[in-house]
Every structure is written in structure tokens, then in C-alpha cells.
């Protein structure tokens, strides 16, 4: 399988050259193959958000190399990074980040607007995506008329708008109750299984990471564990929910 994400020896320092210089990532190397549902799991302060920013082309590492879907991110200029984020990455945020006072449909259309897709095509694709996440009935609603779970489903449809190489989900269920969180996770599984979409899930919850096919553990700016889960997906156990089922 082709590598979609290839990070090599990524070092990220803040306040470079100042007395309070701080190294957050200490040389991370990892790669994610096409069609994999991977998760990066770590406690807060482990550097996973910094890593996500780099993977999402929102930030550049201080040192190291990063190739996304064959494109050298390190060498890209600002406008090129915008285009990469637009076409290759679909973001799903913990706080949904839908544009307020703008209908669900317009929100999903937005990335296509920046891509320069024609209006008719934009509308049709947005409708199709909203139908896919089960939000067709509410596509003219604005975010403040939607529940958290509904907002996150719209956000997933938006992430899919430009058919990106990867979907980067940052704690997508963090603000949701377990039931709606479940719906959202199910959509990710469906996207991964039915459409072969590469998904990177960033989470602090090991039980969510266990649902994914590839689990990368990060701690104090280093990768501390990396394993393949041969049986990804949600497997409710008879055991209590507090004890996540771990499969080897």
C-alpha cells in the first residue's frame, strides 16, 4: 500500500533562540498507508496537538521532513499550504468549528468554494455528502439550530467536500455524549470501510484508539508505541463500558 503520510525525524521547537526555547516533538518518524484508519493517542501535553498541526499542514516542523500524498510539505509556500489543506486534508474538530449564521449546506460547500468548484456542482456534492451523514433533512439549518452530534456530522460532510487524501479528526467525540459520539465514530468506520478513506484520529481516549486499525501512542514528544490492530471496528463487549476491550 502506498504511503499517504510520511514523517521523518520531526522536531518541533517553540520560542527558537529565546531563553525559554521549548522542544515539544523530539524527532518523530511515522508513516500511514492509504486506506488505513489510524489513531494517535496520548495524554494531554504529550505533543499530539502539535503533531496534528504539522500533519494538517497548519504548522511546519523546525526540523525533519514531511510528505503528504507525494507532496513535500516542508518546501511549500503559504498559498501552497492553503491549497494542500483545501484539497488533501479534511479537518474534523472537537468544537465542530462550523461557520455561524451559515446553513449546513453552505458550510459543506465552503471548501469547494475555495477550490473554485462551480456552483451547481458544489451544491450537488454538498447535498450528497449531507445525505451520506444523514443530515439531508436539516441542510438549510444554521449551526445554532443543530445539536452537537448533528454539527459534527455536518463537519464530517464538510471534511469530505474536496475528497481529501486524509481526514484528520481532532478529538471528534470529545464534546459529545457517548451515544452521539458513537454515531460519529460509526460514520468514520463507514467512510474507512466503504470508501477506503484514510483517517487519522487524534484522541486521548485509549478505548477510541482501540477501534482503529493502527494505534500510535505518543508520550512526551516521542512515539512510545505503535501497533497494528488486526480487528478494527467497534466491538461492544459484555464487560462493563469502563473496561475497554483490548484485542491483540
Amino acid at each position: 500500500m502506498a504511503e499517504i503520510i510520511h514523517l521523518e525525524n520531526i522536531i518541533k521547537r517553540f520560542y527558537v533562540g529565546q531563553p525559554n526555547e521549548l522542544e515539544i516533538l523530539h524527532g518523530i518518524s511515522l508513516s500511514v498507508e492509504e486506506g488505513v484508519f489510524a489513531s494517535i493517542v496520548g495524554a494531554s501535553g504529550s505533543g499530539k496537538s502539535t503533531l496534528m498541526n504539522i500533519i494538517g499542514a497548519l504548522d511546519k516542523p523546525t526540523e525533519g521532513s514531511y510528505t503528504l500524498d507525494g507532496v513535500d510539505i516542508i518546501a511549500a509556500r503559504d498559498e501552497e499550504l492553503s491549497a494542500i489543506r483545501n484539497r488533501k486534508i479534511g479537518f474534523v474538530f472537537q468544537t465542530y468549528n462550523l461557520i455561524s449564521r451559515t446553513s449546513a449546506l453552505k458550510n459543506v460547500e465552503m471548501p469547494m468554494l475555495y477550490k473554485g468548484v462551480r456552483k451547481k456542482e458544489r451544491r450537488e456534492r454538498a447535498q450528497m455528502l449531507l445525505e451520506m451523514v444523514g443530515m439531508k433533512e436539516r441542510m438549510s439549518h444554521t449551526p445554532d439550530e443543530l445539536s452537537g452530534g448533528q454539527k459534527q456530522r455536518v463537519a464530517i460532510a464538510r471534511a469530505m467536500a474536496c475528497d481529501p487524501a486524509i481526514i484528520l479528526a481532532d478529538e471528534p467525540t470529545g464534546a459529545l455524549d457517548s451515544k452521539t459520539g458513537r454515531t460519529v465514530m460509526d460514520i468514520f468506520h463507514k467512510l474507512n470501510q466503504e470508501q477506503g478513506k484514510t483517517i487519522v484520529l487524534i484522541t486521548h481516549a485509549p478505548e477510541l484508539a482501540e477501534e482503529t486499525g493502527r494505534i500510535i501512542t505518543i508520550s512526551d514528544g516521542n512515539i512510545t508505541g505503535e501497533r497494528i490492530n488486526p480487528n478494527p471496528g467497534y466491538h461492544p463487549s459484555s464487560a462493563s463500558d469502563d473496561e475497554p476491550e483490548i484485542q491483540f
Binding site: 498559498e79 492553503s82 491549497a83 449564521r101 471548501p111 456552483k119
Partner: protein, 435 residues
């Protein structure tokens, strides 16, 4: 494509934040409204004055005799006001003679279309026939008078004067319809060919009516006339030579009116005539000379003053536009701070710095232009009401509308650029994390 989307977005934003939008636009609204109102009122006054000046004869050059010590630049219409003549009183030889007019016509052939001479025969004469009576002002007109605005007669019946009437000195006259109403029961045709007598200074003079004109009571003289139409003093016109014969005026005229052939050449023509006449006829006169005044110089001076006054007031009003612009900038800065997360999200979704910049500049332009349109409507309304109140015909200054529309868009760009640029340069990570 992005522009249109941004305009729609900005309009939706305005709708969602009505109170704030209106308060922000208020500065622009007041600024634009006052500029347009002032310009409209100024324009209306100008238009009114211009048509007034036209009716006074824009193509006329008045040549008048004045003391050699008279060095006033612009005596205008009130030549003799507050000016004391030095030296001796005017004598017969100081007046302009009828021959001068012939000389001028010849010398300035092509540049002068006529010289009108008016011989004032009597301020008030009385025509009586039994119990019927009418008051008349008797004036002798030269041929060229009939081309001017002052004597633009509308004939109701009969004829005007023919060329030979000016040379054979027959006692014929033209009377007004008012005169006919008083003397002939309003039958203008019946008056034709009738011999009438007019008492002037207790002497009887008789004339034969050849024509009847329509009296225009809006012209000067009408305002000062007696209350009833019956007692109105209307003009009775004689051919110039007839009038001269009656008055035995041999001294000449203190002023004559020259009609210019070309409206654009009035000032140089006036100067040339003055120079010519002074050189030829007043060279040896130690006390008197001729000077001229024209409507154009008067109009230009007046218009210039009016323009500077309205520009000055507009400039003051423009300051409120500036303040309005600062208000727009302020609210745009607040708006981008509030929407930091949105900016971060848009950047994460692929918006370039430029598209963020355009979005906020468009928003600022929309804010200003909407304010501008409201202000424009308000300004036109105020201007029209103001013009009405001042008794002038409202004429909207198209230029001021274009200028203020452009200016409000400019304010939008100018005061929107800094906030928009600030938004464009935001770091997407910080913007996304902004609480």
C-alpha cells in the same frame, strides 16, 4: 465568484447584527447625507440664479458713461450705488450719441448682433376715452431691442415694427393686451388701426395702434405694479425715431446695451468695445469715459463664490465621513476579533490569506456602500426639501452622488484594509484555538 459570495455573506452579517450595523453606518450616513444635501441645495441655487441671469440677458454688454476717476472693478447692476462722482456734472457732449451705435456696428461687424437703444418718453402717461382709461409707460425702441430678452414680445394681433417704421418717424405704437382690456373691452383686433391719445405732462400725443402684445407680468415692473390689472402701467412702444422726435433728445445716452453675437466671446468683446469707444470718442474728454459690465462677469463671480462656499461646507461635512470611516475600522477590528475562530477554520479549510483579506474588505465596503446609499437617499430628500424652502427648483447634483458613492466605497477599502490584513495574517493554529 468569491466576491459575490462574500457580498452575500456580508449582507447576511449586516442583517444578523442590525443595531450594530446601523450604528456603525451612522457616521457614513450622516456624512454622505450632509455632503449631498449641501451640494443639492447649492446646485439648485446655482440653477435658479443661472436661469435668472439668463433672463436678464446673458449675451448683453452694457456700456455706460462714468467719471474718469471711477476705477471700480465690478460695479455690476448697482453702478451708482455709493459712488460719488468727482468733477463736473455730465454735459451734453459727455453722452453717447446714436451715431456711436452705427459706428460700433460697423467696426465690430460680425461680433455684435445688435445694439438696442431705449428712449424713455414717459414714466406714466394716461390714455382716456370717456370713462375708459389706461396707464402706459411710453418707450421708444430701436430695431435691435426686439432681439433681446427684455423686449421679447409675444404679439397677439397686428404686427411689430417694420424696418421703414424706424426711419420714417410715423406716429404708430404697440400696446399691451391690458391696454386693450381697458380701452377696447379685450378685443385685440378691434384695437388695430385705432388712433389713441395719450396725455403726457398735460400734453396730448396721438398714435395709431399697429399691434398688440401679451403683457408678461412676471417680468421686472410687474412686481411693482398697482394691485389691480386695471391700474397696471404697461409699456406702450414707439419706433425709436418717433420717440426721439417727440422728446427732442439730442444729447444722447448715458448707457447703451450691446448684444454679442457669440456668448463665449462676451468678455473680450466688452473690453474691445470699451477700448474702442474711449479711444475714438472720449479721448479728449477730461472728465468722462465709458465702462462696461456684463452678466457673465457677474454670474461667474457669483457662481464662484457659491461654489467655494458649498465646497467649504461640504469639506466640513466630509470630516464626519472621516469619523464614520474610523467607526467602520473600529467595528471591523471588533468583528475580526470575534470571528478569530471562523478565520482559523476558513484557513484550515483552504482559504488563502488573500481570500480572507478580500472577504473582510468586501464586508467593509458593503457596510460603507449600504450606509452610503441610505445617506444618499436621505441627502437628496433633505436637499430637495431645503431647495423648496429656499424657493429654488431642486436640481440633484449627479456628480455629488457619484462622488459620494465612490467615496464611501473608498472609505470601505481604506478603513477596511487594515483590519482585513490583520485577519489575513492570523496564524491558523492560534486562530483555531482562540477562545
Amino acid at each position: 465568484m468569491l466576491i459575490l459570495e462574500n457580498v452575500m455573506l456580508a449582507l447576511a452579517g449586516l442583517k444578523a447584527n442590525k443595531t450594530r450595523a446601523v450604528l456603525t453606518m451612522l457616521g457614513i450616513i450622516i456624512g454622505i447625507a450632509s455632503v449631498i444635501a449641501i451640494m443639492t441645495i447649492g446646485n439648485s441655487i446655482k440653477g435658479e440664479f443661472s436661469s435668472f441671469a439668463d433672463s436678464m440677458g446673458a449675451d448683453q454688454i452694457t456700456l455706460y458713461v462714468t467719471s474718469k476717476s471711477d476705477d471700480r472693478e465690478d460695479p455690476y447692476m448697482f453702478m451708482d450705488m455709493g459712488f460719488e462722482r468727482k468733477g463736473r456734472e455730465m454735459q451734453k457732449s459727455d453722452y453717447m450719441k446714436t451715431e456711436y451705435t452705427e459706428d460700433l456696428k460697423e467696426h465690430f461687424a460680425g461680433r455684435i448682433s445688435g445694439i438696442s437703444l431705449v428712449e424713455e418718453v414717459a414714466e406714466k402717461g394716461t390714455s382716456k376715452n370717456g370713462s375708459l382709461y389706461a396707464y402706459v409707460k411710453v418707450r421708444g425702441l430701436s430695431k435691435d431691442c426686439f432681439n433681446t430678452n427684455d423686449y421679447d414680445l409675444k404679439m397677439l394681433s397686428g404686427r411689430g415694427f417694420y424696418d421703414r417704421d424706424y426711419v420714417d418717424g410715423k406716429k404708430i405704437c404697440i400696446v399691451s393686451d391690458y391696454y386693450c382690456n381697458n380701452m377696447f373691452g379685450g378685443d385685440t383686433d378691434a384695437a388695430l388701426g385705432k388712433k389713441i391719445s395719450v396725455v403726457i405732462d398735460k400734453k396730448y400725443y396721438s398714435y395709431t395702434i399697429v399691434g398688440v402684445y401679451k403683457y408678461d407680468n412676471t417680468k421686472a415692473g410687474g412686481m411693482f405694479s398697482a394691485s389691480s390689472a386695471k391700474d397696471t402701467i404697461t409699456d406702450l412702444y414707439l419706433p425709436f425715431l418717433t420717440a426721439i422726435k417727440q422728446t427732442h433728445n439730442t444729447s444722447g445716452y448715458s448707457s447703451i446695451s450691446v448684444k454679442a453675437a457669440d456668448l463665449n466671446e462676451i468678455e473680450p468683446l466688452a473690453n474691445d468695445i470699451v477700448e474702442y469707444v474711449n479711444e475714438k470718442f472720449y479721448r479728449n474728454n477730461d472728465h468722462y469715459k465709458v465702462k462696461s459690465y456684463t452678466m457673465t462677469s457677474f454670474i461667474e463671480e457669483y457662481m464662484g463664490q457659491l461654489s467655494s462656499v458649498s465646497i467649504a461646507i461640504s469639506a466640513i461635512a466630509g470630516i464626519s465621513l472621516l469619523v464614520g470611516g474610523i467607526g467602520v475600522m473600529n467595528i471591523m477590528l471588533v468583528s475580526i476579533t470575534e470571528r478569530t475562530r471562523e478565520i482559523g477554520t476558513r484557513k484550515a479549510l483552504g482559504a488563502t490569506n488573500n481570500s480572507i483579506r478580500i472577504q473582510f474588505i468586501v464586508e467593509s465596503i458593503v457596510l460603507c456602500v449600504v450606509g452610503g446609499i441610505i445617506g444618499m437617499t436621505l441627502g437628496i430628500a433633505i436637499g430637495m426639501v431645503g431647495s423648496k424652502l429656499m424657493g429654488a427648483k431642486a436640481s440633484i447634483s449627479v456628480l455629488s452622488i457619484l462622488v459620494s458613492f465612490g467615496f464611501s466605497a473608498f472609505i470601505g477599502i481604506f478603513f477596511g484594509y487594515y483590519p482585513a490584513n490583520k485577519a489575513a495574517k492570523m496564524n491558523p493554529i492560534d486562530a483555531l484555538r482562540y477562545e
